[in-house]
Symmetry: C2
Subunit: 257 residues, 2 copies
DNA sequence: TGCAATCCTTGACACAGGACAAAGCTATGA
DNA sequence: TCATAGCTTTGTCCTGTGTCAAGGATTGCA
C-alpha cells in the first residue's frame, strides 16, 4: 500500500526537516509566511516546530483547546463535524500550504484528522498571535488566506445545497485536479490525478453515501469521461472540460486555470 | 405590508444618519470598527459613507468589481450563488454588525441582495485596505470576524450535507432566535422571532424547496413546537430546547446562550 | 368593496439517493 | 500460496424530498 511506503520515507524526512531552512521550504511562496521579509522569516523560523501525524491520526478535536497553529507542509488534513448520532461531514480539506488552527480562539470547532501522512509546520498559538500583531505581512497573508477559504467554503455550500450526486463527484474531481497544481493544462488533454480521499471520505466531503459516490464514479468511467487503472485512487480525467461542464460551473470556470 | 412602512421611515432616517456620530451607532460594539480607539474611529468616520438599499435591491453582483466594503447597520443581506440553469443557493446571511465586501480583491464571488431595507456603513475599498495596514485593531477585528464567519459557514456545511429537512428548519429557527439577540433566555420560555426571510429564501438558504420548508413549518406547528399568528413571518418558538434537539445540535449547543 | 398580485399551504405522484446486503479486489503477512 | 482485512463495487428495495398542480390567505390598489 502506498500509504505505508510514504509513511516510512516521511518519517525519515521528518528528522531532516526539523532542521530544514525556511528558504528551501516547498510551500514558502504560498503559505501564511509567504509575504514575510527575510528578518521576519528568521523570527518565525526560531519558533517553528514540525509535527508529524500518521494517516488516520487525530490532529485536533472539536471543542478541545488547540495550542498550535501552522501550515500543512505535506499530506492532507480533513476537518470534520460530527452529529451525536454519528453522521459526519467533512467541512474542509487542507492541502499543502493551507493554514491549520484557530488563531484568536482557544478551542477549535471541528475535528482535524490526517488523511495521509501529514507534516505540519507549527507555532505556539499564543506566540503566533503575539507575532501577528507586530508582523503586518503575516497578518495580511493570514487574512487573505482566511477570506479565500471563506469563498471556497461558500462555493462548497452551493455544491452541497444544490448539486446532484453526479455534479458533486465531477466537481470534486476537477477541484482535485486544480489543487494538484496541474497549472494551465489544455482542457482536452488527459490529466492524471491521485485522489487524496478514498470513497468513504469523498462521500463525507460531498454529503453523499459511499455507495452513491462509487456508482457515480463507475458511471463516469463507463461514459469514458474518466479512467481508473491502478485501483480506485488513481484517476485520469479524459475530458476535463466536459467534466467541468457536468460539475455545473459558472462564471469564470476557466478550465484548470 | 411592513416592508413598505419600514422603507419610508428608513429613507427618512438615512438623511439623519449621514450625520450620525459613530459614538451613537447601534452596532459600534460588534462591528469591524469595534476595537478602534477614539482617534482611529475619527479617521474611519471621516471616510465613511452610508448607502441604502431597498428590499430586493442588488447590492453587488458575482464577478463584478465591488468598490466598497463596510458594515450592515440595519436590515439583512443575502449572499447567493447561482448556477447557469437557475438553481440558487444562499451562501451567507448577514445581520446588523456583519461585514460585507471583499477586501484584498477587486471582485466579489457571489451576488449580494438586500432582503430587507438595508443600511450599510461603507468605506472605499482601496482606502479601507490602506487603513487596514496601519490600524492594527481594525485588521485584528476583521480577521476575527472572518474566522468566525468561516466557522459559521462550516457549520452550515454540516447542515446542508447531513441534516434532514426537519432538522434544517428547526436549526434555522434556533439560529434566527440567537441572532436576534434574545440573549440568555430560559430555554423553555416562549420566544417570539420575526423571520428575516420568507419561505422562498428559507428554502434557498437551507438547500430545500419552498414546498418542503412550508410542510416542515406546518409539521412543527401541528406538534405544538412553534406558533404562527400574524402571518408566516412571525413565529413564536414554544419549546426552544426541544427545537434545538431536533436541530441536531451537538457540543456546546447552549440553549440560546 | 373587490380585483390582482404575491406569498404560503396542501395534495398526489415520481425519482434521486439512502439503507441494507453481498460479492469482488488488493495488499499485507504468515 | 493462502488467509485476513479493508476497500470498492454492484444489486435490490425503500423513503425523503422534489415536481407539478391547485387552492388559500394577505395586502395594496382601483
Amino acid at each position: 500500500m502506498s500509504a505505508t511506503s510514504q509513511k516510512t520515507s516521511a518519517k525519515h524526512k521528518a528528522t531532516d526537516q526539523r532542521r530544514l531552512a525556511c528558504g528551501d521550504c516547498a510551500i514558502r511562496d504560498r503559505a501564511v509566511c509567504s509575504l514575510c521579509s527575510t528578518e521576519e522569516m528568521a523570527t518565525l523560523e526560531a519558533i517553528k516546530h514540525y509535527r508529524r501525524f500518521e494517516a488516520g491520526a487525530t490532529i485536533a478535536m472539536a471543542g478541545e483547546p488547540l495550542p498550535f497553529v501552522g501550515s500543512v507542509v505535506e499530506g492532507h488534513v480533513a476537518l470534520t463535524r460530527m452529529m451525536s448520532d454519528g453522521r459526519r461531514q467533512i467541512v474542509g480539506l487542507l492541502f499543502p500550504s493551507d493554514f491549520i488552527g484557530r488563531p484568536l480562539r482557544e478551542t477549535i470547532a471541528y475535528d482535524a484528522e490526517a488523511v495521509d501522512d501529514v507534516l505540519l509546520c507549527t507555532f505556539d498559538r499564543v506566540r503566533f498571535e503575539w507575532l501577528l500583531r507586530r508582523t503586518p505581512p503575516l497578518e495580511e497573508r493570514l487574512l487573505e488566506m482566511t477570506l479565500d477559504e471563506l469563498d471556497a467554503a461558500r462555493e462548497t455550500l452551493l455544491t452541497l445545497g444544490r448539486r446532484t450526486a453526479r455534479e458533486k463527484v465531477a466537481n470534486f474531481l476537477v477541484m482535485v485536479a486544480r489543487r494538484q497544481g496541474i497549472g494551465a493544462v489544455a482542457p482536452t488533454e488527459r490529466v492524471e490525478i491521485v485522489l487524496p480521499l478514498g470513497r468513504d471520505d469523498m462521500a463525507g466531503f460531498l454529503g453523499l453515501t459511499i455507495e452513491t459516490v462509487s456508482r457515480q464514479m463507475t458511471a463516469l468511467r463507463r461514459e469514458g469521461l474518466i479512467d481508473m487503472v491502478n485501483g480506485a485512487r488513481e484517476v485520469t480525467l479524459v475530458n476535463t472540460d466536459t467534466l467541468a461542464e457536468i460539475a455545473g460551473e459558472d462564471g469564470d470556470g476557466g478550465p484548470l486555470a
